[in-house]
Amino acid sequence: MIPELGQLALILALLLALAQGILPILGAHRGNATLMAVARPAAQGQFVFVAIAFGCLAYAFLTNDFSVENVARNSFSQLPKIYRFTATWGSHEGSILLWTLVLAFWTMAVTVFSHHLPDDMSARVIGVMGLVSSGFLAFILLTSDPFTRLNPIPADGNDMNPLLQDPGMVFHPPMLYMGYVGFSVAFAFAIAALLSGRFDAAWARWSRPWTTVAWVFLTIGITAGSWWAYNELGWGGWWFWDPTENASFIPWLAGTALIHSLAVTEKRGAFKGWTVLLAIIAFSMSLLGTFLVRSGVLSSVHAFATDPTRGIFILGFLGVVIGGSLVLYAIRVPKMESGGSFTWFSRESLLLANNVVLVAALGSVLLGTLYPLFMDAMGMGKISVGPPYFNSVFVPLIAPAMFLAGVGPLARWKQASLPEMAKRLRIAMAVSVASALLLPLTVGGFNWMASVGIGLAMWIVFTVLIGFAERLKHEQGSKLAALMRLPRGFWGMQLGHFGLAWVVAGIALVSAYETERNVKMNVGDTVHLSGYAFTFMGVEMRDGPNYRAARGTLEVSTGGKPAFVLHPEKRIYNASGMPMTEAAINYGFTRDVYAALGEELGPNEWTVRVFFKPFVGWLWLAGAMLTLGGILAAFDRRYLIALRKTGADTSPAKGAAVQGAKA
């Protein structure tokens, strides 16, 4: 009964999404306020019904309703309750439903926080999101129904993929989707601007906080994903450049470029066409990521080659959404007049350079991700592109962006002076060059990569400090109070750049100085690594809720004194029989010590992997710093004031509607 209700809710949601997608856009085109007024109630109703559908599926998972095929395939009666809930989006069908729910949620947020917009603008924005949502709902109903029943009803389920049974996986996909799908708001604003033909600074100001919030979620999602890989895969790696990771990283790069380009469009009215194009690209990359991960074109456990219906549907949908937007872009872009002029050396030109670098880096990741597909499609054989390509192409491409992140915020708009900049930056330059040469020596000997990484990180840190100092130079009275008075947008940028410096330093240090050993150990054996001695105390069997685990004990000592004990596990999951490695990690600010059990070679004899990972924790701390910077920037006073004003004039919105319609 409940699953059927869910299905009914999906059908109703689709009908509302179609109404939300078609009527308001038509209304905005014809200047019909009644049709435009459909946008908000339709979007809110759509959200309610998608939420009901999602709730019904979650209920089926929580109550172990194995008559539903999706539950039988992806859950298991002994699965802990929290994972039974997260299994709701563990499957293809469930994850697309989550996607749609998140989209409906964002649309809902737009309906609440868009009263300060002209009514035709908000009608178009909500309408575009309704069209995107219709596509996803139709996809679910036609090809990926999560509520299909099974007959006969199986006694128990097949279990959730053990890899996904990790606390990191509870938050990772929803955060990632909040980010992916959040770019739909910036996209909808861009399309609305193209449809209306009005490209002004106001448009950039409206879409900027939405873009930043989406970027924040994507940053959290990627950070959590990397944390999960580090903890769960048992190889000590934190980024593998695999297609699934790239599918989230590519939109992140596009979103980062978009945030910077929106800043120029808002402040100076320049780069309008480019900003619109980036907004389309950022959301297209999110859709593309979904397509790549969900259609199985790249690599997956089961290819859809035997049943490409889903892939063809998504591809057709991509064609309509992306192709349609790009056609609209090509038609409308000549109407945009470019805004304020600027010289070759100015904040605008530096931000443009930043955009070029980010887009080039995006292109390199996209190319590496899709290259195997291109080769295969042209019948040129099977190849795979691995980390060596990405490290040797992406890293040098992105490095100039780090340099620019230091210069850009200090340069004036319109026209900056090169000699003056050189004077302001010479100390930062001297300090970062000196750190690049000397600091690696104090960590563990000179290393080329560590040197460049530290140099760039110090460069950003010192330019951030100069930025603060220059802002405070002419302040009278308490410097601390003046510091707190600085706009949140400025703080956000500074913290964001500081987070970037932190992550660069972390990556450079851990890549340069990590050590690992992979050894065969008997009970009582000791292995030494980077000043730590690991003594293998043996393995005991232990029962988990839905698995059996071999739990190893490693006593770790340093400098002759016992330091801590690690318990890496090897688990066999009851339902699927799949073995999983559960790494044991002793976390620290300047280093992690990491151990994982390999294979059982004989009685009390195991292969054991131990890793010494200096500064690896910085990656995730820096992710938190980037997130904080994004949050501050998104909630700058000027956006909040715009919202508060609308609180007063929500009711006389009709007057605005007529105005909007005339325009």
Binding site: V297, A305, L315, L326, V333, D376, G577
Partner: protein, 172 residues
Amino acid sequence: MKRWLPLIIFVALAGFFYVGLHLNPREVPSPFIGKPAPAFTLPVVGQAGVTFAPEQNKGKVWLFNVWAPWCVACRQEHDALMQLSQAGVPIYGLNWKDKDREAAALLAREGSPYVVTADDLDGRVGIDYGVTGTPETFVIDKQGIIRMKHIGPIDADAWQNKFLPLLKELNK
């Protein structure tokens, strides 16, 4: 023209995706398909003095399954193979690079789906067959020609859609 460039790039990409959808990323073409199965003579696991050579199977359609005791994916496949062998499908094994000599004990403990398992200790025969990893399964026809190669564990889907139609045709 410049303003149409993003669209043109996208259309080209979409074309590749369309072709890509019809390709199977796990399908690595084997140059051995349609060629006679390379000859070898190897000792048989667990039966001292007995040897196995593919010529012995002339006149019947058989599966040649490359596996190893250290291979986790092969354990996954084990149940499926047991069922198939009980259903009368002749499966011959190639115990690939079993340095720790565990195959005999493992088959005795878990049951053997194989008629016999040839012991390829140094992996030479594996190289002759172009083995890239375990498990891999070859279908060899009555004339001793390799007709298909399957990479990865045999699951219900692969059996229904790949093996069964081919075996029916070959056994006609």
